[in-house]
């Protein structure tokens, strides 16, 4: 049970390894050197990007000049976080089959995004997702609502990443937790404030390439160890794992069917409401590039999850039965999240271990940079320029505000990372997905598909989705019992999305139908223009001329 708990924690965020399980880590010089090379390279890119980032379109959307393949790689990079690489392989290592459910859930949101949203978002949007809704709804209320829910998603995601980063880097590099958090925070601020979306995208692309390379090599070497026979690998895993054949059947991790289903809903529809992901659709030239990028993203992410699955299963026998990697008690040295790192050592020695550790650090850095940029956009473009100044501001001022917001968010992220060091933050990524699925997704979808959606409906639905997702998470076992220490949870399921997402839709529906006045009819009247633009791209924001 202990191992399962660890894996669950590990998965929900990048690196909740239990430092207590680890011997005091020695400094890992191979890893530090390789990470130094990555930092030097990305700072060089940031310098290059800073010289090309002149307008707001450059800062928020990389001037619209990212190609479909590049954007697909960057999107895949956002998804191939340390949580999915280390967390899912750790979860497969402890719970076997059930680890597959997370990876599949993360993947299948993409086809839905492609079929129903990607092109339309590109045709309607400019810099932030609120641009899409304020196209026909009243900008003040919908931008405020969208900025709040975006910031909530970004904040929870960021806390999870920062705490994970601190703990992971402590283990991988032997650096103190506080140093690690500050290094991540400072580098992320540099990338975002100087290089904007262009630097953030290229950092993500490079990291995604390195991660795919490293994981592919590990998976091939691991398969070679079993003579390229999956059956031999599974048989060895069954023999080595304490639960034996149970690892090949669902149920070790997810025991409650409703929880499982609810998690499935959060993972699938949350993807279509994550602000840092949706922003990436505004970095490509047109709808065609948007759909090409989703195809590449889906392919890379699908391939990557197959790799993590092989890595996790290979590790059950290759790591789990080697006293070099596990203690006599059966616990993994350094905590559950170290499984993939140990496997790298098993198949490639110190060099590969150093490489994979450095890539894991790079991964966290790239993901937090994307999150910070999305948060800064919500502050500067939505709240400052369009709500507070009602559009009466200059591009220069708006960019200055967004840089200040990036620095402030970076400092806040460092502070939160330090404050939450000893906290159990396992629920936070799940909560971010649930809020995205419940508050953002219903409003975005109905805005494009349902003519009668109006401002009060969007605000009611978005608020209801946000509040219910957060409230139900607080009442769930993850917080109510594990953090607040009550005996029994009031809301019995781990993920709220099965309930909070329908509430979000219901709020939009009821809010739009009651008390329709002249404003509601005017908003319905503007639907035709939105619809035609979303379908054809006529009038869409073009690529900046570079």
């Amino acid at each position: 049970m202990r191992r399962l708990g660890l894996a669950a924690a590990a998965l929900a965020l990048p690196g909740v390894a239990r430092a207590a399980d680890a011997a005091p880590p020695a400094e890992n010089f191979t890893a530090i050197a390789m990470f130094g090379v990555f930092v030097a390279l990305t700072l060089g890119i940031t310098y290059w990007a800073s010289r090309r980032t002149r307008s707001a379109a450059d800062f928020y959307a990389a001037g619209g000049g990212i190609t479909g393949l590049q954007n697909g790689m960057a999107i895949a990079g956002d998804f191939m976080s340390a949580a999915s690489f280390l967390g899912i392989s750790a979860m497969v290592y402890t719970a076997g089959f059930d680890g597959l459910l997370y990876s599949i859930g993360f993947l299948v949101g993409w086809p839905i995004m492609m079929f129903l949203m990607a092109e339309r978002m590109r045709n309607l949007g400019k810099y932030s997702l609120a641009d899409v809704t304020s196209y026909r709804l009243s900008p003040g209320p919908v931008r405020t609502m969208s900025a709040i829910s975006s910031l909530v998603v970004v904040a929870f995601y960021l806390i999870a990443q920062m705490v994970g980063a601190g703990q992971l880097i402590q283990l991988l590099f032997g650096l103190p937790y506080a140093y690690a958090v500050v290094i991540v925070g400072v580098l992320m601020i540099l990338y975002v404030t100087l290089g904007g979306m262009l630097a953030t995208t290229w950092v993500q692309i490079i990291k995604a390439g390195l991660l795919l390379l490293g994981a592919s090599y590990m998976a091939v070497m691991a398969l070679a160890h079993f003579g390229f026979s999956l059956n031999t690998m599974f048989a060895a895993a069954v023999a080595a794992h304490a639960k034996h054949a149970a690892i090949l059947t669902p149920g070790l991790q997810f025991k409650n069917p409703i929880s499982t289903l609810s998690l499935g809903v959060a993972l699938m529809f949350g993807t279509a409401g994550l602000p840092h992901i949706l922003m990436r659709f505004f970095t490509v030239r047109d709808a065609k590039a948007a759909r090409t990028s989703v195809f590449w993203a889906t392919s890379f992410i699908g391939y990557f999850y197959i790799l993590t699955f092989i890595i996790g299963f290979a590790a059950i026998s290759m790591v789990g039965s080697n006293p070099l990697y596990v203690l006599a008690t059966g616990a993994v040295r350094g905590g559950g999240n170290m499984v993939a790192i140990h496997l790298a050592h098993a198949v490639g020695g110190d060099i590969l271990k150093g490489f994979v550790s450095a890539v894991a650090f790079a991964t966290i850095l790239a993901v937090v940079a994307g999150l910070t940029l999305a948060g800064a956009t919500a502050v500067s473009h939505d709240l400052y320029a369009n709500v507070f100044r009602r559009g009466r501001t200059t591009e220069g001022t708006e960019m200055r505000v967004s840089r200040i917001a990036s620095v402030a968010l970076g400092v806040l992220a460092i502070a939160l990372g330090l404050a939450f060091e000893k906290q159990n933050v396992a629920y936070m990524v799940g909560l971010a997905f649930a809020v995205a699925a419940s508050a953002n997704f219903p409003v975005l979808l109905l805005n494009m598909y349902w003519k009668r959606l109006d401002t009060k409906g969007a605000v009611l639905g978005g608020s209801l989705g946000l509040v219910s997702a957060v409230a139900l998470t607080v009442l769930s076992p993850g917080i109510w019992v594990k953090v607040l220490g009550f005996h029994a949870a009031i809301f019995p399921y781990d993920s709220p999305a099965l309930f909070s997402m329908p509430l979000g839709f219901l709020g939009c529906y009821v809010g739009s139908l009651i008390g329709r006045g002249r404003q509601a009819e005017a908003e319905a009247g503007r639907f035709e223009a939105l619809y035609i633009r979303s379908q054809t791209g006529l009038g869409a924001e073009g690529a900046a001329s570079h």
Partner: protein
């Protein structure tokens, strides 16, 4: 976009065709994906025993089905891209030329 442009696009037979074909393809593929995914999740949630049936050596039914979900996600997005890059883009650019 002004009302006149909207009315012109609306009257364009290419637009009606684009709307019809893309709507049909998008929703069909979305429904297939939802059915495949939630079919898999429901089997995992409510029929773990069935998913644990060995099919080849020690490999159980759940693994090929999981792989099938991943491959379908990639294949369905591929189908959409191929159709959209050819047919839909041709119609879109005809509409754009008619309404400069």
């Amino acid at each position: 976009m002004d009302d006149i442009t909207c009315a012109q696009v609306r009257a364009n037979p290419d637009f009606a065709e684009l709307e019809r074909q893309r709507g049909r393809l998008g929703w069909t593929l979305a429904i297939i994906m939802l059915a495949v995914y939630f079919g898999f999740v429901l089997l995992v949630a409510f029929a773990p025993g069935l998913m644990g049936t060995p099919v080849a050596g020690v490999i159980t039914l759940g693994f090929p089905l999981g792989l099938f979900v991943i491959v379908s996600a990639i294949a369905l997005t591929g189908v959409y891209v191929v159709r959209a890059n050819g047919r839909f883009d041709a119609m879109t650019s005809r509409i754009a030329r008619a309404n400069p």
